[in-house]
């Protein structure tokens, strides 16, 4: 089966720590679980486009600044 999941590097942890927010606070603001914030920060999970936009808005940034498609590496399906 062809792999269709791609993991992109992101700056979520960097932006969160700069603002002094906890993972639980970010999770509450984004209406996702703390475990999902941890997975996004560690690069194990790439968020959907709507969630990526919510993340960018939360940190007053843009999707292309928060997520780096040039650093993408193929994940496993």
């Amino acid at each position: 089966m062809t792999s269709y999941l791609y993991i992109m590097r992101n700056r979520v942890r960097e932006a969160r720590t700069q603002r002094g927010l906890s993972q639980a606070e970010v999770a509450a603001a984004l209406e996702v679980s703390r475990q999902t914030v941890i997975s996004i920060e560690s690069g194990r999970y790439s968020p959907s486009l709507p969630l990526a936009f919510r993340i960018a808005r939360l940190f007053d940034s843009t999707v292309d600044k928060m997520f780096d498609p040039e650093d993408e590496e193929a994940g496993r399906c």
Partner: protein
């Protein structure tokens, strides 16, 4: 307040209903042996209560069991359901072949396998259309 519309109650409620139906079916089919009926009822209640309690944990598993999932947990649930479907289909196929070799009735396995295949094709058509909208 206790609300049955809360997703956390759905799976335990289905388990309780299913256990009750099986309990009654055993009673009708094999006679009412109250010791066995009570044990079956207690096992059903324990399973439903255990599932409900697991749904209260602040973990991915807890979120999946309680039905309060975010998009990543929904993906995990979908993948787990797909894998379960594959394993059940494989087990049914093996059971079908064994029944065939032993000369036993094969229709129950063929029927369930057939329902699975028809559901897969139907679901593919439905979800493809929904996505196109």
């Amino acid at each position: 307040m206790l609300r049955l519309t809360n997703p956390r109650w759905r799976a335990p409620a289905v388990m309780l209903a299913g256990g009750t139906v099986i309990d009654v079916a055993v009673g009708i089919g094999h006679g009412w042996h109250w010791g066995a009926e009570i044990i079956l009822a207690l096992l059903t209640i324990l399973a439903a209560a255990g599932y409900y309690l697991l749904g209260g944990r602040d973990t991915d598993t807890g979120a999946i069991y309680s039905g309060h999932m975010d998009e990543r947990q929904l993906l995990i649930w979908t993948q787990a359901m797909a894998l379960s479907g594959w394993v059940v289909s494989l087990a049914l196929l093996v059971a079908f072949v064994i029944a065939l070799v032993l000369g036993k009735p094969t229709w129950p396995f063929a029927l369930v396998l057939g329902i699975g295949v028809v559901t897969f094709f139907g679901a593919t058509a439905v979800y493809r259309r929904r996505e196109a909208r």
